[in-house]
Protein backbone atom coordinates (compact mmCIF):
# COMPACT_ATOMS: atom_id res chain seq x y z
CA UNK A 1 0.00 0.00 0.00
CA UNK A 2 1.53 3.34 0.99
CA UNK A 3 5.11 2.80 -0.02
CA UNK A 4 6.55 5.55 2.10
CA UNK A 5 10.08 4.28 2.19
CA UNK A 6 11.35 3.47 -1.29
CA UNK A 7 12.98 0.02 -1.71
CA UNK A 8 16.40 1.62 -1.68
CA UNK A 9 15.89 2.85 1.86
CA UNK A 10 14.39 -0.41 3.06
CA UNK A 11 15.86 -1.47 6.35
CA UNK A 12 16.66 2.11 7.23
CA UNK A 13 15.37 4.11 10.17
CA UNK A 14 11.59 4.27 10.49
CA UNK A 15 11.39 6.67 13.40
CA UNK A 16 14.05 8.60 15.26
CA UNK A 17 14.05 11.06 18.13
CA UNK A 18 16.99 13.34 18.78
CA UNK A 19 17.41 14.99 22.16
CA UNK A 20 13.71 15.35 22.94
CA UNK A 21 12.91 17.49 25.96
CA UNK A 22 9.54 18.37 27.43
CA UNK A 23 8.91 20.58 30.43
CA UNK A 24 5.53 20.90 32.16
CA UNK A 25 5.55 23.95 34.36
CA UNK A 26 8.52 23.03 36.44
CA UNK A 27 8.90 19.29 35.95
CA UNK A 28 10.87 17.71 33.15
CA UNK A 29 8.70 14.89 31.82
CA UNK A 30 11.03 14.05 28.95
CA UNK A 31 14.72 14.61 29.51
CA UNK A 32 16.94 14.57 26.46
CA UNK A 33 15.65 11.32 24.95
CA UNK A 34 17.20 10.00 21.75
CA UNK A 35 15.84 6.89 20.13
CA UNK A 36 16.34 5.18 16.79
CA UNK A 37 13.90 2.61 15.50
CA UNK A 38 14.91 0.66 12.38
CA UNK A 39 12.18 -0.50 10.06
CA UNK A 40 10.38 -3.55 11.39
CA UNK A 41 11.64 -3.06 14.92
CA UNK A 42 9.90 -4.77 17.82
CA UNK A 43 10.71 -2.31 20.52
CA UNK A 44 9.46 -2.11 24.09
CA UNK A 45 9.45 0.98 26.26
CA UNK A 46 9.39 0.34 29.98
CA UNK A 47 9.74 2.37 33.12
CA UNK A 48 7.98 3.01 36.41
CA UNK A 49 4.74 4.99 36.64
CA UNK A 50 5.23 8.61 35.76
CA UNK A 51 8.53 7.91 33.99
CA UNK A 52 7.34 9.84 30.95
CA UNK A 53 6.47 7.01 28.58
CA UNK A 54 3.12 8.41 27.53
CA UNK A 55 4.60 11.86 27.26
CA UNK A 56 7.23 10.52 24.89
CA UNK A 57 4.49 9.00 22.71
CA UNK A 58 2.59 12.27 22.79
CA UNK A 59 5.69 14.07 21.59
CA UNK A 60 6.38 11.56 18.83
CA UNK A 61 2.80 11.70 17.54
CA UNK A 62 2.40 15.46 17.76
CA UNK A 63 -0.14 15.68 20.58
CA UNK A 64 2.47 17.69 22.48
CA UNK A 65 5.11 20.03 21.12
CA UNK A 66 8.62 19.28 22.41
CA UNK A 67 10.49 21.98 24.32
CA UNK A 68 13.60 20.92 22.40
CA UNK A 69 14.78 18.18 20.05
CA UNK A 70 13.88 16.73 16.67
CA UNK A 71 11.68 13.92 15.42
CA UNK A 72 12.38 12.14 12.15
CA UNK A 73 9.80 9.94 10.49
CA UNK A 74 11.26 7.81 7.67
CA UNK A 75 14.14 10.25 7.49
CA UNK A 76 11.98 13.36 7.24
CA UNK A 77 11.85 16.00 9.95
CA UNK A 78 8.29 16.05 11.33
CA UNK A 79 9.01 18.03 14.52
CA UNK A 80 6.62 20.78 13.50
CA UNK A 81 4.16 18.61 11.55
CA UNK A 82 0.64 18.29 12.97
CA UNK A 83 -0.64 15.06 14.46
CA UNK A 84 -2.78 14.61 11.40
CA UNK A 85 0.14 14.96 8.98
CA UNK A 86 2.14 12.39 10.92
CA UNK A 87 -0.70 9.90 10.68
CA UNK A 88 -0.83 10.46 6.96
CA UNK A 89 2.87 9.65 6.83
CA UNK A 90 2.27 6.34 8.50
CA UNK A 91 2.58 6.97 12.23
CA UNK A 92 -0.30 5.71 14.36
CA UNK A 93 -0.82 5.09 18.05
CA UNK A 94 -3.17 3.69 20.63
CA UNK A 95 -4.02 5.44 23.88
CA UNK A 96 -3.39 4.27 27.40
CA UNK A 97 -6.85 5.51 28.32
CA UNK A 98 -9.42 4.57 25.68
CA UNK A 99 -10.09 7.37 23.24
CA UNK A 100 -13.13 6.06 21.41
CA UNK A 101 -16.46 7.28 20.11
CA UNK A 102 -19.12 6.43 22.66
CA UNK A 103 -22.01 7.24 20.35
CA UNK A 104 -20.74 5.33 17.32
CA UNK A 105 -20.69 1.59 16.70
CA UNK A 106 -17.33 -0.14 16.17
CA UNK A 107 -18.26 -0.56 12.53
CA UNK A 108 -18.97 3.14 12.08
CA UNK A 109 -15.80 3.99 13.96
CA UNK A 110 -13.63 1.92 11.67
CA UNK A 111 -15.38 2.97 8.46
CA UNK A 112 -14.79 6.54 9.52
CA UNK A 113 -11.12 5.91 10.19
CA UNK A 114 -10.65 4.06 6.91
CA UNK A 115 -12.29 6.90 5.00
CA UNK A 116 -9.93 9.37 6.66
CA UNK A 117 -6.99 7.30 5.50
CA UNK A 118 -8.27 7.14 1.94
CA UNK A 119 -9.01 10.85 2.00
CA UNK A 120 -11.12 10.68 -1.15
CA UNK A 121 -12.86 14.04 -1.51
CA UNK A 122 -15.48 12.76 -3.95
CA UNK A 123 -16.54 10.11 -1.52
CA UNK A 124 -16.60 12.61 1.33
CA UNK A 125 -20.07 13.74 0.31
CA UNK A 126 -21.47 10.30 -0.37
CA UNK A 127 -23.55 8.38 2.13
CA UNK A 128 -21.63 6.09 4.43
CA UNK A 129 -23.69 3.20 3.11
CA UNK A 130 -22.12 3.59 -0.31
CA UNK A 131 -18.63 2.91 1.05
CA UNK A 132 -18.71 -0.83 0.39
CA UNK A 133 -14.96 -1.31 0.26
CA UNK A 134 -14.36 0.57 3.48
CA UNK A 135 -17.15 -1.37 5.11
CA UNK A 136 -15.67 -4.70 4.00
CA UNK A 137 -12.25 -3.69 5.20
CA UNK A 138 -13.70 -2.64 8.54
CA UNK A 139 -15.53 -5.95 8.93
CA UNK A 140 -12.37 -7.90 8.16
CA UNK A 141 -10.42 -5.93 10.74
CA UNK A 142 -13.16 -6.25 13.34
CA UNK A 143 -13.32 -10.01 12.88
CA UNK A 144 -9.59 -10.30 13.11
CA UNK A 145 -9.81 -8.70 16.54
CA UNK A 146 -12.79 -10.74 17.64
CA UNK A 147 -15.17 -7.81 17.48
CA UNK A 148 -17.36 -9.22 14.73
CA UNK A 149 -20.24 -10.06 17.04
CA UNK A 150 -20.51 -6.56 18.51
CA UNK A 151 -19.75 -4.45 15.47
CA UNK A 152 -23.23 -2.90 15.31
CA UNK A 153 -23.52 -2.07 18.99
CA UNK A 154 -22.87 1.32 20.48
CA UNK A 155 -19.30 1.55 21.73
CA UNK A 156 -20.44 2.87 25.11
CA UNK A 157 -22.27 -0.40 25.74
CA UNK A 158 -19.25 -2.65 25.03
CA UNK A 159 -17.35 -4.50 27.72
CA UNK A 160 -14.02 -2.94 28.68
CA UNK A 161 -11.94 -5.67 27.05
CA UNK A 162 -13.80 -5.23 23.77
CA UNK A 163 -13.25 -1.51 23.87
CA UNK A 164 -9.56 -2.09 24.42
CA UNK A 165 -9.49 -4.24 21.29
CA UNK A 166 -11.33 -1.57 19.36
CA UNK A 167 -8.67 0.88 20.48
CA UNK A 168 -6.09 -1.30 18.74
CA UNK A 169 -8.31 -1.90 15.71
CA UNK A 170 -8.74 1.84 15.26
CA UNK A 171 -4.99 2.36 15.12
CA UNK A 172 -4.63 -0.53 12.68
CA UNK A 173 -7.28 1.00 10.43
CA UNK A 174 -4.75 3.73 9.71
CA UNK A 175 -2.48 1.05 8.18
CA UNK A 176 0.54 2.46 9.96
CA UNK A 177 4.19 1.95 9.06
CA UNK A 178 5.04 2.75 12.66
CA UNK A 179 2.64 1.83 15.44
CA UNK A 180 3.04 3.06 19.01
CA UNK A 181 1.05 1.03 21.52
CA UNK A 182 0.54 2.64 24.92
CA UNK A 183 -0.25 -0.22 27.33
CA UNK A 184 -2.74 -1.81 24.93
CA UNK A 185 -3.53 -4.58 27.40
CA UNK A 186 -3.89 -2.41 30.49
CA UNK A 187 -6.78 -3.60 32.60
CA UNK A 188 -7.59 -6.49 30.29
CA UNK A 189 -8.05 -9.97 31.83
CA UNK A 190 -5.31 -12.47 31.14
CA UNK A 191 -6.98 -14.54 28.46
CA UNK A 192 -7.74 -11.49 26.37
CA UNK A 193 -4.26 -10.05 26.84
CA UNK A 194 -2.88 -12.85 24.71
CA UNK A 195 -5.40 -12.06 22.04
CA UNK A 196 -4.10 -8.51 21.85
CA UNK A 197 -0.46 -9.55 21.86
CA UNK A 198 -1.14 -12.13 19.15
CA UNK A 199 -2.86 -9.61 16.93
CA UNK A 200 0.11 -7.33 17.31
CA UNK A 201 2.59 -10.08 16.60
CA UNK A 202 0.75 -11.05 13.42
CA UNK A 203 1.29 -7.61 11.89
CA UNK A 204 3.50 -7.56 8.78
CA UNK A 205 7.22 -7.73 9.59
CA UNK A 206 8.03 -4.38 8.02
CA UNK A 207 5.68 -2.51 10.36
CA UNK A 208 7.68 -0.89 13.14
CA UNK A 209 6.19 -1.51 16.58
CA UNK A 210 6.74 0.18 19.91
CA UNK A 211 5.04 -1.32 22.94
CA UNK A 212 4.67 0.25 26.35
CA UNK A 213 3.83 -2.40 28.88
CA UNK A 214 4.21 -3.04 32.59
CA UNK A 215 3.79 -6.83 32.36
CA UNK A 216 7.38 -8.05 32.01
CA UNK A 217 6.41 -11.43 30.67
CA UNK A 218 4.58 -9.79 27.81
CA UNK A 219 7.46 -7.40 27.19
CA UNK A 220 10.02 -10.21 26.99
CA UNK A 221 7.83 -12.25 24.69
CA UNK A 222 7.33 -9.35 22.33
CA UNK A 223 10.45 -7.22 22.28
CA UNK A 224 13.72 -7.56 20.43
CA UNK A 225 15.02 -4.41 22.03
CA UNK A 226 13.98 -2.57 25.14
CA UNK A 227 14.41 1.04 26.28
CA UNK A 228 14.12 1.88 29.93
CA UNK A 229 12.87 5.33 30.91
CA UNK A 230 13.43 6.63 34.43
CA UNK A 231 12.23 10.11 35.44
CA UNK A 232 12.03 11.21 31.85
CA UNK A 233 15.51 10.12 30.80
CA UNK A 234 16.67 6.99 29.00
CA UNK A 235 18.33 4.87 31.67
CA UNK A 236 19.44 2.17 29.26
CA UNK A 237 18.68 0.46 26.00
CA UNK A 238 19.49 -3.10 24.98
CA UNK A 239 18.32 -6.60 24.24
CA UNK A 240 15.87 -8.19 26.67
CA UNK A 241 18.73 -10.23 28.16
CA UNK A 242 20.87 -7.15 28.69
CA UNK A 243 17.99 -5.27 30.25
CA UNK A 244 17.01 -8.13 32.49
CA UNK A 245 20.62 -8.52 33.61
CA UNK A 246 21.20 -4.86 34.28
CA UNK A 247 21.52 -4.12 38.00
CA UNK A 248 20.29 -0.61 37.38
CA UNK A 249 17.07 -1.78 35.80
CA UNK A 250 16.55 -4.39 38.46
CA UNK A 251 16.95 -1.76 41.09
CA UNK A 252 14.61 0.85 39.67
CA UNK A 253 12.12 -1.35 38.00
CA UNK A 254 12.17 -5.13 38.10
CA UNK A 255 13.04 -5.56 41.73
CA UNK A 256 13.73 -9.29 41.68
CA UNK A 257 16.02 -11.99 40.39
CA UNK A 258 13.24 -13.92 38.73
CA UNK A 259 13.08 -11.41 35.88
CA UNK A 260 16.20 -12.88 34.28
CA UNK A 261 14.66 -16.29 34.38
CA UNK A 262 11.42 -15.01 32.91
CA UNK A 263 13.30 -13.36 30.09
CA UNK A 264 15.29 -16.45 29.25
CA UNK A 265 12.17 -18.57 29.46
CA UNK A 266 10.17 -16.28 27.22
CA UNK A 267 12.94 -16.18 24.63
CA UNK A 268 13.16 -19.94 24.45
CA UNK A 269 9.42 -20.25 24.11
CA UNK A 270 9.23 -17.74 21.29
Amino acid sequence: MNAIASPGVAGSTALAAEGLVKHFNGITATDNVSLTLPRGARHALIGPNGAGKTTLINLLTGVLKPSAGRILLAGEDVTTASAQQRVQRGLARTFQINQLYAELTPLETLVMAIMQRRGNLMRWWQPVTRQREACDEAVALLERLGLGSVMAERTSTLAYGKRRLLEVALALACQPQVLLLDEPAAGVPHGERDEILETISELPRDVTLVLIEHDMEMVFRFAERISVLVSGALAMEGTPEEVAASPLVREVYLGGAHATATAAHARKGA
Binding site: A83, V87, Q99, E108, M112, M115, V128, R132, C135, V139
Partner: protein
Protein backbone atom coordinates in the same frame (compact mmCIF):
# COMPACT_ATOMS: atom_id res chain seq x y z
CA UNK B 1 -8.30 -10.87 -1.60
CA UNK B 2 -9.36 -13.98 -3.55
CA UNK B 3 -11.32 -16.52 -1.59
CA UNK B 4 -13.85 -15.06 0.76
CA UNK B 5 -15.46 -17.49 3.12
CA UNK B 6 -19.20 -17.84 3.32
CA UNK B 7 -19.30 -16.51 6.87
CA UNK B 8 -17.19 -13.56 5.78
CA UNK B 9 -19.71 -12.71 3.10
CA UNK B 10 -22.59 -13.06 5.51
CA UNK B 11 -21.05 -10.78 8.07
CA UNK B 12 -20.21 -8.20 5.43
CA UNK B 13 -23.82 -8.20 4.36
CA UNK B 14 -24.95 -7.92 7.94
CA UNK B 15 -22.57 -5.04 8.54
CA UNK B 16 -23.79 -3.23 5.51
CA UNK B 17 -27.37 -3.83 6.54
CA UNK B 18 -26.68 -2.32 9.95
CA UNK B 19 -25.32 0.83 8.31
CA UNK B 20 -28.33 1.05 6.01
CA UNK B 21 -30.76 0.60 8.88
CA UNK B 22 -29.27 3.57 10.63
CA UNK B 23 -30.33 5.97 7.89
CA UNK B 24 -33.58 4.44 6.71
CA UNK B 25 -36.59 6.71 6.34
CA UNK B 26 -38.88 6.08 9.28
CA UNK B 27 -42.69 6.25 9.17
CA UNK B 28 -42.63 8.89 11.87
CA UNK B 29 -40.62 11.13 9.55
CA UNK B 30 -43.20 10.87 6.80
CA UNK B 31 -45.91 11.64 9.33
CA UNK B 32 -43.91 14.64 10.49
CA UNK B 33 -43.73 16.10 7.03
CA UNK B 34 -47.47 15.69 6.55
CA UNK B 35 -47.92 18.20 9.37
CA UNK B 36 -47.24 21.33 7.31
CA UNK B 37 -49.88 20.19 4.84
CA UNK B 38 -52.36 19.49 7.61
CA UNK B 39 -51.49 22.85 9.18
CA UNK B 40 -52.39 24.62 5.99
CA UNK B 41 -55.87 23.18 5.90
CA UNK B 42 -56.53 23.30 9.63
CA UNK B 43 -55.38 26.86 10.30
CA UNK B 44 -55.80 28.78 7.05
CA UNK B 45 -56.03 32.05 8.97
CA UNK B 46 -52.81 31.47 10.93
CA UNK B 47 -50.48 31.09 7.99
CA UNK B 48 -48.23 33.93 9.14
CA UNK B 49 -47.57 32.07 12.37
CA UNK B 50 -46.98 28.81 10.52
CA UNK B 51 -44.50 30.52 8.21
CA UNK B 52 -42.67 31.89 11.22
CA UNK B 53 -42.49 28.38 12.59
CA UNK B 54 -40.94 27.09 9.39
CA UNK B 55 -38.38 29.90 9.36
CA UNK B 56 -37.49 29.47 13.01
CA UNK B 57 -37.24 25.72 12.38
CA UNK B 58 -34.73 26.32 9.61
CA UNK B 59 -32.77 28.69 11.82
CA UNK B 60 -32.68 26.12 14.61
CA UNK B 61 -31.66 23.45 12.12
CA UNK B 62 -28.74 25.63 11.11
CA UNK B 63 -27.66 25.86 14.73
CA UNK B 64 -28.07 22.11 15.08
CA UNK B 65 -25.53 21.62 12.31
CA UNK B 66 -23.03 23.51 14.44
CA UNK B 67 -23.98 22.38 17.89
CA UNK B 68 -25.58 18.99 17.45
CA UNK B 69 -23.26 17.65 14.78
CA UNK B 70 -19.97 19.51 14.97
CA UNK B 71 -20.23 20.32 18.68
CA UNK B 72 -19.45 24.01 18.21
CA UNK B 73 -21.21 26.18 20.78
CA UNK B 74 -22.36 29.60 19.64
CA UNK B 75 -23.85 32.53 21.47
CA UNK B 76 -24.06 34.67 18.36
CA UNK B 77 -25.76 32.62 15.69
CA UNK B 78 -28.13 35.51 14.97
CA UNK B 79 -25.21 37.13 13.15
CA UNK B 80 -25.78 34.91 10.15
CA UNK B 81 -29.55 35.07 10.36
CA UNK B 82 -29.33 38.84 10.35
CA UNK B 83 -26.82 38.91 7.52
CA UNK B 84 -29.14 36.80 5.40
CA UNK B 85 -32.13 38.94 6.30
CA UNK B 86 -30.41 42.19 5.42
CA UNK B 87 -28.87 40.75 2.26
CA UNK B 88 -32.19 39.48 0.93
CA UNK B 89 -33.98 42.61 2.08
CA UNK B 90 -31.49 45.02 0.54
CA UNK B 91 -31.51 43.07 -2.71
CA UNK B 92 -35.30 43.31 -2.81
CA UNK B 93 -35.22 46.99 -2.02
CA UNK B 94 -32.78 47.82 -4.78
CA UNK B 95 -34.49 45.91 -7.56
CA UNK B 96 -33.26 42.32 -7.28
CA UNK B 97 -36.72 40.95 -6.65
CA UNK B 98 -36.36 37.34 -7.80
CA UNK B 99 -36.78 35.48 -4.50
CA UNK B 100 -34.85 32.24 -4.99
CA UNK B 101 -31.70 33.87 -6.30
CA UNK B 102 -32.06 36.42 -3.51
CA UNK B 103 -32.03 33.57 -1.01
CA UNK B 104 -29.03 32.02 -2.70
CA UNK B 105 -27.13 35.28 -2.41
CA UNK B 106 -28.16 35.60 1.23
CA UNK B 107 -26.79 32.11 1.80
CA UNK B 108 -23.57 33.01 0.02
CA UNK B 109 -23.02 36.18 2.03
CA UNK B 110 -23.78 34.52 5.35
CA UNK B 111 -21.71 31.50 4.38
CA UNK B 112 -18.76 33.68 3.37
CA UNK B 113 -18.81 35.53 6.68
CA UNK B 114 -19.25 32.21 8.43
CA UNK B 115 -16.23 30.85 6.61
CA UNK B 116 -14.07 33.79 7.62
CA UNK B 117 -15.17 33.84 11.24
CA UNK B 118 -14.94 30.07 11.55
CA UNK B 119 -11.19 30.45 11.93
CA UNK B 120 -11.82 32.49 15.06
CA UNK B 121 -13.87 29.76 16.70
CA UNK B 122 -11.49 26.92 15.86
CA UNK B 123 -9.15 27.99 18.59
CA UNK B 124 -9.95 27.80 22.22
CA UNK B 125 -12.41 25.98 24.41
CA UNK B 126 -16.17 26.27 24.69
CA UNK B 127 -15.95 29.43 26.74
CA UNK B 128 -13.73 31.19 24.21
CA UNK B 129 -16.06 30.09 21.44
CA UNK B 130 -19.07 31.46 23.26
CA UNK B 131 -17.34 34.80 23.75
CA UNK B 132 -16.01 35.04 20.21
CA UNK B 133 -19.32 34.19 18.57
CA UNK B 134 -21.04 36.67 20.85
CA UNK B 135 -18.47 39.33 20.01
CA UNK B 136 -18.80 38.79 16.28
CA UNK B 137 -22.59 39.03 16.40
CA UNK B 138 -22.44 42.21 18.46
CA UNK B 139 -20.00 43.71 15.99
CA UNK B 140 -22.40 42.97 13.15
CA UNK B 141 -25.35 44.37 15.09
CA UNK B 142 -23.39 47.53 15.79
CA UNK B 143 -22.38 47.75 12.13
CA UNK B 144 -25.99 47.42 10.99
CA UNK B 145 -26.93 50.11 13.46
CA UNK B 146 -24.23 52.46 12.18
CA UNK B 147 -24.82 51.86 8.47
CA UNK B 148 -28.24 53.48 8.60
CA UNK B 149 -28.10 54.60 4.97
CA UNK B 150 -27.97 50.96 3.91
CA UNK B 151 -29.94 49.13 6.57
CA UNK B 152 -32.42 51.77 7.63
CA UNK B 153 -30.85 51.73 11.10
CA UNK B 154 -33.25 51.70 14.00
CA UNK B 155 -36.26 52.33 11.75
CA UNK B 156 -35.73 49.07 9.92
CA UNK B 157 -35.38 48.29 6.27
CA UNK B 158 -38.57 49.21 4.47
CA UNK B 159 -39.61 49.19 0.84
CA UNK B 160 -38.54 45.63 0.20
CA UNK B 161 -40.11 44.31 -3.00
CA UNK B 162 -40.18 40.61 -3.77
CA UNK B 163 -41.21 39.19 -7.11
CA UNK B 164 -43.24 36.04 -7.70
CA UNK B 165 -41.76 32.65 -6.82
CA UNK B 166 -40.66 30.84 -10.01
CA UNK B 167 -42.01 33.91 -11.77
CA UNK B 168 -45.53 32.56 -11.19
CA UNK B 169 -46.66 32.69 -7.58
CA UNK B 170 -47.10 36.25 -6.34
CA UNK B 171 -46.80 36.87 -2.62
CA UNK B 172 -50.38 37.47 -1.46
CA UNK B 173 -51.85 39.22 1.54
CA UNK B 174 -53.09 35.93 3.02
CA UNK B 175 -49.56 34.60 3.15
CA UNK B 176 -50.35 31.48 1.15
CA UNK B 177 -47.38 31.82 -1.18
CA UNK B 178 -45.15 32.89 1.68
CA UNK B 179 -46.14 29.79 3.62
CA UNK B 180 -45.49 27.29 0.87
CA UNK B 181 -42.35 29.10 -0.10
CA UNK B 182 -40.98 28.90 3.46
CA UNK B 183 -42.05 25.30 3.95
CA UNK B 184 -40.68 24.29 0.55
CA UNK B 185 -37.28 25.85 1.21
CA UNK B 186 -37.22 24.28 4.66
CA UNK B 187 -38.04 20.86 3.25
CA UNK B 188 -35.39 20.99 0.55
CA UNK B 189 -32.70 22.20 2.94
CA UNK B 190 -33.73 19.66 5.53
CA UNK B 191 -33.36 16.84 3.01
CA UNK B 192 -29.94 18.17 2.09
CA UNK B 193 -28.95 18.30 5.75
CA UNK B 194 -30.21 14.78 6.27
CA UNK B 195 -28.18 13.61 3.31
CA UNK B 196 -25.08 15.36 4.63
CA UNK B 197 -25.61 13.85 8.05
CA UNK B 198 -25.54 10.40 6.54
CA UNK B 199 -22.43 11.10 4.46
CA UNK B 200 -18.84 10.42 5.34
CA UNK B 201 -18.62 14.10 6.22
CA UNK B 202 -21.52 13.76 8.64
CA UNK B 203 -19.96 10.72 10.24
CA UNK B 204 -16.69 12.58 10.59
CA UNK B 205 -18.44 15.46 12.32
CA UNK B 206 -19.98 13.05 14.79
CA UNK B 207 -16.52 11.68 15.36
CA UNK B 208 -15.08 15.13 16.00
CA UNK B 209 -17.86 15.96 18.41
CA UNK B 210 -17.37 12.63 20.14
CA UNK B 211 -13.59 12.79 20.48
CA UNK B 212 -11.56 15.35 18.62
CA UNK B 213 -8.27 14.21 20.19
CA UNK B 214 -8.69 10.77 18.66
CA UNK B 215 -9.92 12.26 15.43
CA UNK B 216 -6.57 13.98 14.98
CA UNK B 217 -4.83 10.73 15.95
CA UNK B 218 -6.47 8.88 13.07
CA UNK B 219 -5.38 11.57 10.66
CA UNK B 220 -8.67 13.38 10.16
CA UNK B 221 -8.52 16.99 9.02
CA UNK B 222 -10.42 18.18 12.07
CA UNK B 223 -10.22 21.89 11.39
CA UNK B 224 -11.21 21.55 7.76
CA UNK B 225 -14.33 19.67 8.78
CA UNK B 226 -15.20 22.20 11.46
CA UNK B 227 -14.74 25.09 9.06
CA UNK B 228 -16.99 23.35 6.54
CA UNK B 229 -19.66 22.66 9.12
CA UNK B 230 -19.55 26.21 10.43
CA UNK B 231 -19.81 27.60 6.92
CA UNK B 232 -22.76 25.39 6.06
CA UNK B 233 -24.50 26.26 9.32
CA UNK B 234 -23.95 29.96 8.66
CA UNK B 235 -25.31 29.66 5.12
CA UNK B 236 -28.38 27.83 6.41
CA UNK B 237 -28.97 30.56 8.97
CA UNK B 238 -28.57 33.10 6.17
CA UNK B 239 -31.32 31.40 4.19
CA UNK B 240 -33.58 31.44 7.25
CA UNK B 241 -32.97 35.17 7.70
CA UNK B 242 -33.48 35.75 3.99
CA UNK B 243 -36.79 33.93 4.16
CA UNK B 244 -37.93 36.14 7.00
CA UNK B 245 -37.02 39.34 5.17
CA UNK B 246 -38.66 38.16 1.95
CA UNK B 247 -41.88 36.88 3.46
CA UNK B 248 -42.36 39.90 5.71
CA UNK B 249 -40.76 42.34 3.25
CA UNK B 250 -39.00 43.92 6.17
CA UNK B 251 -35.85 43.62 8.22
CA UNK B 252 -34.93 45.40 11.43
CA UNK B 253 -32.08 45.43 13.89
CA UNK B 254 -33.67 42.74 16.04
CA UNK B 255 -32.66 40.09 13.47
CA UNK B 256 -29.12 40.54 14.77
CA UNK B 257 -29.95 40.92 18.43
CA UNK B 258 -28.51 38.87 21.23
CA UNK B 259 -32.04 37.82 22.18
CA UNK B 260 -32.40 36.03 18.89
CA UNK B 261 -29.24 34.03 19.45
CA UNK B 262 -30.49 33.06 22.89
CA UNK B 263 -33.92 32.23 21.53
CA UNK B 264 -32.64 29.82 18.92
CA UNK B 265 -30.55 28.06 21.53
CA UNK B 266 -33.68 27.64 23.59
CA UNK B 267 -35.55 26.25 20.60
CA UNK B 268 -32.88 23.63 20.12
CA UNK B 269 -32.87 22.98 23.84
CA UNK B 270 -36.59 22.27 23.75
CA UNK B 271 -36.40 19.95 20.77
CA UNK B 272 -33.08 18.31 21.54
CA UNK B 273 -29.98 18.55 19.36
CA UNK B 274 -28.10 16.16 17.14
CA UNK B 275 -30.92 14.39 15.31
CA UNK B 276 -32.01 17.15 12.89
CA UNK B 277 -35.66 17.13 13.87
CA UNK B 278 -34.98 18.77 17.23
CA UNK B 279 -34.87 22.26 15.77
CA UNK B 280 -38.13 21.76 13.92
CA UNK B 281 -39.99 20.24 16.84
CA UNK B 282 -38.56 22.90 19.12
CA UNK B 283 -39.70 25.62 16.73
CA UNK B 284 -43.27 24.30 16.70
CA UNK B 285 -43.45 24.12 20.48
CA UNK B 286 -41.67 27.42 20.99
CA UNK B 287 -43.90 29.38 18.64
CA UNK B 288 -47.07 27.80 20.00
CA UNK B 289 -45.96 28.64 23.50
CA UNK B 290 -45.05 32.15 22.44
CA UNK B 291 -48.45 32.57 20.85
CA UNK B 292 -50.26 31.31 23.91
CA UNK B 293 -48.24 33.13 26.56
CA UNK B 294 -48.04 36.47 24.83
CA UNK B 295 -51.82 36.32 24.46
CA UNK B 296 -52.01 36.04 28.23
CA UNK B 297 -49.36 38.63 29.05
CA UNK B 298 -48.24 40.28 25.85
CA UNK B 299 -45.41 42.27 27.36
CA UNK B 300 -43.86 39.66 29.52
CA UNK B 301 -43.04 36.90 27.09
CA UNK B 302 -39.44 37.38 28.06
CA UNK B 303 -40.28 36.37 31.59
CA UNK B 304 -41.63 33.00 30.47
CA UNK B 305 -38.72 32.57 28.12
CA UNK B 306 -36.38 32.98 31.08
CA UNK B 307 -38.34 30.60 33.26
CA UNK B 308 -38.32 28.03 30.50
CA UNK B 309 -34.56 28.30 30.06
CA UNK B 310 -33.95 27.90 33.77
CA UNK B 311 -36.31 24.96 34.11
CA UNK B 312 -35.00 23.17 31.05
CA UNK B 313 -31.39 23.47 32.12
CA UNK B 314 -32.17 22.40 35.67
CA UNK B 315 -34.08 19.39 34.37
CA UNK B 316 -30.79 18.31 32.79
CA UNK B 317 -31.41 19.68 29.32
CA UNK B 318 -33.16 16.75 27.74
CA UNK B 319 -35.95 18.61 26.02
CA UNK B 320 -38.93 16.80 24.60
CA UNK B 321 -36.76 14.16 23.03
CA UNK B 322 -35.30 13.12 26.37
CA UNK B 323 -38.79 13.03 27.76
CA UNK B 324 -39.94 10.90 24.84
CA UNK B 325 -37.01 8.50 25.16
CA UNK B 326 -37.62 8.09 28.87
CA UNK B 327 -41.31 7.43 28.41
CA UNK B 328 -40.54 5.03 25.57
CA UNK B 329 -38.00 3.21 27.73
CA UNK B 330 -40.50 2.86 30.55
CA UNK B 331 -43.14 1.67 28.12
CA UNK B 332 -40.77 -0.92 26.68
CA UNK B 333 -39.89 -2.09 30.18
CA UNK B 334 -43.51 -2.54 31.18
CA UNK B 335 -44.12 -4.57 28.05
CA UNK B 336 -41.08 -6.77 28.61
CA UNK B 337 -40.90 -6.93 32.37
CA UNK B 338 -38.13 -9.53 32.22
CA UNK B 339 -35.70 -7.29 30.39
CA UNK B 340 -33.69 -4.51 31.88
CA UNK B 341 -34.50 -1.09 30.47
CA UNK B 342 -32.01 0.12 27.92
CA UNK B 343 -29.94 3.16 28.57
CA UNK B 344 -32.06 6.09 27.47
Amino acid sequence: MSAVSETGLASRAAAHASLVAARRLRPAEIAFWLMPIAGYFLFPDRLALLSEIAILGLFALSLDILLGFAGIVSLGHAAFFGLGAYTAGILGKYGWTEPLSGLAIAALVAGAVGFITSFLVLRGNDLTRLMVTLGVSLMLAEAANRLGWLTGGADGLTGVMIGPVFGVFEFDIFGVTAYWYAVGVLFVLFCLARYLASSVFGLTLRGIKGNSLRMAAIGAPVNLNLVTAYTIGAAYAGVAGGLLAQTTQFASLDVLEFQRSAEVLLVLLIGGSGYLYGGLIGAVLFKLMHDLLSDLTPQYWQFWLGILLVVLVLSSREGVRGLYLRVAARFARSRHPGRKGGAA
